[in-house]
């Protein structure tokens, strides 16, 4: 027997807002992602020039060399608006919390072999500062980028980097001693292994073109660093001491896989837009990739020893395949 539940049905005048209907047609409702994203940034009739940047208007397409007919073509395939973003992260946070509890309740940090713990602290803890760099850069794009389609997810990316910096910090508090974070910070500031990487990120801090920054940080740096650290170095730590560290870095591993979908979509669409974009994006990606490889080598050598070169080759090879699929010519 079927029970039909009814509410009073009245006929709507329209399915969605006109600016959305112009894009998807007037005959269907729009998703919350679309209604919360499309065309909500002002594009005209600005009242004053920024005192801090009078060469541009408040939102200005000329803050990048990349040109798009429609900046809203850069949609996020994850369809993150605030609600779905926070709920997705809350699920990951619950799992991460549960992992940290597991490690602590079973004393896995204390049981982790000393040599493995030492390596983990050396290679992971200073990365909390690099994460902070990712936060700064993505806030830059959120502030000065064009069109909510790309600026919105950069806010999320920035907060993700802060969250991951905090998870790394927490790992340091669990696995290390009272001075482990300070030792890691000193290494970040002075240690031989980290100076190229710190130089890389500091150079990104003064870049003006926000799309180049997107390439340098979100595509290239993350695209090489995450597989190196959270796949390959993670495996070494796991082989040396068991899964305690992997448990505490699971958030980063999962996060990377998800964020790649978004970064790839932005690059693919902007490359396909025009030959000029393709040339510019490829030039940026190549230059920053070549530099990133150099900066990551000392870290790879320290963690992977004699396997460093072959693993880096495989990481770079995978990055190159990924880039080729996006239409980049490196």
């Amino acid at each position: 027997m079927q029970i039909d539940l009814r509410t009073v049905s009245i006929k709507p005048l329209r399915y969605t807002f006109d600016h959305i209907a112009k894009r998807i047609g007037a005959d269907k409702p729009a998703s919350r992602y679309l209604e919360g994203t499309m065309d909500i940034q002002a594009v005209t009739n600005f009242h004053y020039r920024p005192l801090w940047d009078p060469k541009h208007t408040i939102f200005d397409t000329s803050r990048t060399a990349i040109k798009m007919k429609d900046w809203y073509a850069l949609k996020d395939p994850r369809q993150f608006y605030y609600g779905t973003y926070t709920m997705a992260r809350a699920r990951m946070q619950e799992a991460a919390d549960s992992n940290f509890d597991f490690v602590e309740d079973r004393g896995l940090a204390d049981k982790f072999p000393a040599a493995a713990a030492k390596l983990a602290l050396e290679v992971l803890l200073p990365l909390r500062h690099l994460e902070w760099g990712g936060n700064m850069n993505n806030m830059y794009i959120c502030a000065y980028g064009y069109g909510t389609a790309i600026t919105q997810p950069c806010n999320y990316q920035a907060m993700d980097h802060l969250g991951m910096a905090q998870y790394i910090t927490r790992l340091g508090l669990v696995l290390g001693k009272d001075d482990s974070l300070q030792i890691a910070k000193s290494a970040w500031l002075d240690g031989a292994m980290w100076q190229e990487l710190r130089h890389y990120i500091e150079d990104t801090f003064v870049m003006k073109d926000w799309f180049e920054l997107f390439v340098a940080n979100n595509l290239v740096l993350d695209g090489l660093l995450y597989p190196l650290v959270y796949q390959h170095i993670d495996k070494v730590l796991d082989d040396l001491g068991g899964p305690a560290v992997s448990l505490m870095t699971q958030f980063q591993s999962e996060w990377f896989v998800e964020s790649v979908k978004w970064v790839d979509a932005c690059i693919k669409v902007s490359v396909a837009e025009s030959d000029e974009n393709k040339a510019q994006l490829s030039a940026w990606a190549k230059a920053w990739r070549d530099r990133a490889i150099k900066t990551l080598l000392p870290l790879a050598k320290h963690a992977l020893g004699t396997d460093a070169e072959s693993i880096m080759e495989s990481v770079v090879g995978e990055f190159n395949s990924r880039a080729a699929k996006l239409g980049l010519v490196l």
């Binding site: 399915y15 919360g36 801090w52 609600g83 992260r89 806030m139 907060m159 150079d203």
Partner: protein
């Protein structure tokens, strides 16, 4: 955050290690190049480490608590939509407040999102950056939850359909638009005083509590829910704004005059924007919560009083404009509604004369002014409307160069005299509604002469679509202007009486109770 880690460090140390310890002094690039905007305003900061973090939230806690709020909120929005919740409002006139909100206020949330992203990158101190970034994230939450809540109304009622387009063009919406453009184009410290402090602390309760209570009183579950849910974010924003002020004032006594000037300017600019909210409270809510006068007395004079008493130890004084605002509280909503009513052919929401019971409420709430200055005109218009001569002004008003409100405000000591002020700058004359607006202009004329004043732009011929042809016979400038505004002429505008909204609401409500 697990308890063991918690017990190792107190909340303050833990938060330090989780935030400001992440940053470092750059050496490969000069710090001044990494942070190019935080010195030019003349604010002196000697020790960023003295910043006290308000609401020490790590990202994991943020995601957890905010996700819970979102789940609850969207469950209610879904229920509201599924059950034709819009038919539960007191009467369809209420829905016009939401049109004003979506076109006037929601886009400001978006600007706040971008503005706090800007300060979230440009402040040299890590602590304030983190707080600004969370606010940036909260603000996109606000615009999206507002769009999502109000989306259902867009399906059934007029005026909601192109809110960003209208926010950038309409003659009364440049009041809020220019307010935020002004804030975001100012330096990062001024932005923090303008929005973080003046708007989010001093004035916030004047926007949200009456508006959200208004929604609750009028049966709008969707707006009440997003309002209260957003307010919990606002509590964090308030603490950020207050901390910003304290920090600047404690860092160097030279900051005091700069900060005081900003507080004076932004309190005034904020009050001018809020008069739309006040008018909504007094004229647009079928079931009224309190009068603008009462809200002003509670939320500015009392609460604001407590705040400025507290800040007096730094040398901060109550903003100069408070005195005029105290006089204006008995007049501005009546003057504003009169303007919106007579320009109702060009408003994106309906207008009307309050019914006799509502006029009596206004008399009771405004014993010194309403019957003497404002009731007669409203009753006259009601009479005219009954005769079939509903009054519409066919031309457009001059706007104040600074606040961009039409020049209908009166002298503080004479409500029968329009208040005009003017200044000359580079051989042009500029016009203002008041002394505080003139003072703002005189301090930074190069900034305010840039303003895109909607009605002035109309008269310069800049507000027509490409197809408009002024030379064509029968050219109707108002109708053409409404095309530029993307109005559905005759459906979005004009009197509530006889509107499609009125007819539909009555018919649908009827349908939901009859067989």
């Amino acid at each position: 955050m697990d308890m063991r880690v918690k017990k190792k460090l107190g909340i303050k140390e833990r938060y330090t290690v989780m935030t400001r310890d992440l940053g470092w002094e750059t050496t490969f690039q000069p710090m001044d190049d990494v942070f190019p905007y935080d010195k030019f305003e003349g604010i002196k900061i000697h020790d960023w480490d003295k910043w006290e973090d308000p609401f020490r939230l790590t990202m994991d806690a943020y995601w957890k608590y905010q996700a819970e709020k979102e789940r609850k909120l969207y469950a209610i929005i879904d229920a509201f939509n599924q059950n034709n919740g819009h038919l539960g409002v007191t009467d369809a006139r209420y829905i016009n407040t939401l049109k004003l909100f979506l076109t006037g206020v929601s886009p400001l949330e978006y600007m706040a999102h971008r503005g706090f992203a800007h300060t979230g990158r440009q402040m040299r101190g890590v602590g304030p950056r983190v707080a600004c970034q969370m606010q940036s994230l909260d603000e996109i939450r606000h615009i999206q939850t507002q769009i999502h809540s109000i989306s259902n109304y867009n399906k059934y009622y007029n005026g909601f359909h192109d809110f960003t387009h209208m926010h950038s063009r309409l003659w009364y919406l440049s009041v809020p638009r220019s307010f935020f453009d002004d804030a975001i184009t100012a330096g990062p410290f001024e932005y923090m005083v303008a929005i973080g402090f003046a708007f989010e602390y001093v004035l916030t309760n004047l926007l949200f509590v009456p508006f959200v209570s208004g929604a609750a009183y009028n049966g709008d579950m969707a707006a009440t829910t997003f309002g209260f849910s957003a307010q919990s974010d606002e509590a964090r924003h308030m603490t950020l704004g207050l901390e910003c002020i304290k920090f600047m004032l404690e860092q160097d006594p030279d900051n005091l005059p700069i900060v005081q000037r900003w507080i004076d300017k932004w309190t005034w600019r904020g009050i001018r924007v809020l008069m739309l909210v006040g008018t909504m409270m007094d004229y647009m809510l079928p079931k009224r919560v309190m009068s603008w006068k009462e809200a002003w007395e509670i939320y500015f004079e009392q609460n604001g009083g407590a705040l400025f008493n507290d800040l007096a130890r730094y040398g901060i004084k109550v903003p100069k404009c408070a005195e005029q605002a105290g006089i204006d509280k008995e007049h501005i909503t009546h003057q504003t509604w009169a303007a919106l009513y007579q320009y109702g052919a060009a408003t994106d929401f309906h207008t009307w004369i309050p019914n006799p019971e509502e006029l009596d409420w206004l008399s009771a709430k405004y014993p010194n002014t309403f019957d003497k200055y404002y009731r007669p005109r409203l009753e006259h218009w009601a009479e005219e409307a009954k005769k079939g001569n509903r009054f519409y002004t066919k031309t457009l008003p001059q706007l104040c160069q600074v606040c961009q409100v039409p020049m209908f405000f009166t002298e503080p000591d004479d409500p029968t005299k329009i208040s005009y002020r003017e200044s000359d700058f580079k051989e042009e004359k500029y016009h203002f509604c008041s002394d505080p607006c003139k003072e703002i202009f005189d301090h930074e004329p190069e900034k305010y002469v840039q303003a895109w004043l909607p009605t002035h732009q109309v008269f310069q011929g800049n507000c027509f679509t490409e197809e408009a042809d002024p030379a064509a016979p029968g050219f109707d400038p108002l109708a053409e202007l409404l095309k530029y505004y993307h109005f559905n002429n005759g459906r979005d505008n004009m009197d509530f009486e006889g509107s499609e909204d009125q007819k539909n609401f009555a018919a649908w409500r009827n349908e939901s109770v009859k067989n």
